[in-house]
Symmetry: C2
Subunit: 307 residues, 2 copies
């Protein structure tokens, strides 16, 4: 694998950024990686574990001379960070991000960037329920999708191609699409499901007639799959929902319509409606396994004594 960017700067050093660093190192995609995080604690942890070649005490110091700057901060603060680093961006540099929403990131960041800097937002569809600088690992992006969303039609195609090579070098498959389509697709495949999982876990927590220990003990019964989703980073998800509002609310509206129809089928004893619905959804699951996006092993291959 060859060097794609000479100098890379990572702003924010959580799960995503730390995994990018380890993946860069694994494949030799950059000569030097600088990093910056908001808190002193995080910067010291990063230095201690060797995360980044050079951890800086300011974002501007990290960004100076960088060919690629990746904003790995919550989407709610990207505008502020962009404003801060804009004066020191090298002409010809590429600014990118890893945010889970794209329209609002573009709207927040683009106005601050000088001419001559390429803005190529991105969104890697990967993550775990853990957070922080010590949670990253090089394999996070292997075989995962990364969606590249050029900020507008005038974006330099070479800058886009170079970012694509970078993400492919980290193991990902790359697709390109425009910002609004991205936000709708993610509302369906990720944002609405996450909110629903959060809600189900919250309801279980509230219910006093079923003890906490029962909910926990018997959580292998289906509930457990929801709780993994509901353990995601609260800051990140708050920002996602606040910034992908319209698409998320649309999907949730459709969801509640469907749910009420199924509730009615239960209340009225309409077994055929239920059976047909469940049969249809089983086929979708098969499609996902065939597309290679999940394992066919029973119970996600948890195996052994743990399921």
């Amino acid at each position: 694998m060859s060097v794609v960017y000479d100098r890379v700067a990572l702003i924010g050093l959580g799960l995503i950024a730390s995994s990018i660093f380890w993946a860069i190192k694994r494949s030799g995609l950059a000569n030097e990686v600088t990093g910056y995080a908001r808190t002193k604690d995080t910067r010291e942890t990063a230095r201690r574990i060797g995360l980044c070649d050079r951890v800086c005490d300011s974002a501007t110091e990290a960004v100076e001379g960088a060919d690629l700057v990746i904003l790995c901060v919550p989407v709610g603060v990207m505008g502020r960070v962009a404003a801060e680093i804009a004066p020191v961006l090298k002409p010809g540099a590429t600014v990118s991000d890893v945010g889970s929403v794209k329209r609002s990131v573009i709207d927040a960041v683009a106005p601050h960037l000088p001419d001559g800097v390429h803005f190529v937002p991105a969104h890697p569809l990967a993550g775990t329920e853990h957070s922080g600088p010590e949670s990253g690992f090089a394999e996070l992006y292997d075989n995962r999708w990364c969606i590249i969303v050029p900020a507008d039609e005038d974006t330099d195609p070479d800058a886009v191609a170079k970012l694509r090579s970078f993400w492919e070098g980290m193991g990902a498959h790359v697709d390109e699409m425009d910002a609004d389509h991205h936000d709708l697709v993610l509302a369906v495949t990720s944002h609405a499901p996450h909110l629903i999982a959060y809600t189900m876990v919250g309801v279980a927590d509230d219910l006093r007639r079923v003890t906490d220990s029962e909910v926990i003990k018997y959580s292998a019964a289906g509930f457990r799959d929801f709780t993994r989703i509901a353990a995601s980073d609260p800051t990140m998800w708050r920002d996602v929902f606040l910034t992908n509002k319209d698409a998320t609310l649309e999907i949730l509206g459709r969801f509640t319509e469907e749910l009420f129809a199924l509730q009615r089928a239960i209340r009225t004893g309409d077994g055929d409606h239920l059976y047909d619905y469940f049969t249809r959804t089983r086929a979708i699951r098969r499609g996902i396994i065939e597309a290679g996006q999940d394992t066919d092993a029973p119970d996600f291959g948890r195996g052994g004594g743990r399921q």
Copy 2:
């Protein structure tokens, strides 16, 4: 491990029954296991793969002389099966089941059973998204919970204790509770979550502005966890919802209340409400990992190139 029952009969030969057979063999819990399934195909498959010591062509033949009869059929047909086998049940035999709901199973089965037969319903909290006689394996119940629900307060305690030993011999932890409490707990931890997962998958399927391939390609983004739940056996789940109606509808009602509150927070931009809610649910996830009911490995330990 020693023999608990001399003769065991399994009525229905799907995932649950086949796993019971292999677990019995693994630990030597019975001397002979007979089996019966409704379709000729299933019976022939069972014979071919050595599932059961003797596969019978009628339920009554399988049940004759059995010390333990386990009904492993959909809950909607348990009453009919009970009526069919009642005349040939051995005095002192125990009849049990593996149904996911308990009140309606007791109501359907108990009236048919003769005096002198012990009725001790049960519900093992274990399963995968696969079905059929070839899907079973001995380890399915290891470290899983099995809830025993004696049909009434007069149930013979020795019969209950013996069934407990049997399930513990298959690797499970055993709890006892009454039928209505069981049905409420399962509505919270399993039935409502399953319906919600089904609905989310159905909504994604309906949405034409997001192509099927995108939903599938990007399904590692959270949606995928729902689809495993939604691939469960349609017959079993139809019957579960039709027979655990009240508790399920109650939980779904709470769920929609909570969901609307979160939708409102999104619409009005109430970031604090969202942040607090997500922080609370993350703590519940930690509780589950600590209770040993799931793995702490990122992404359920899927690992490698597949996540």
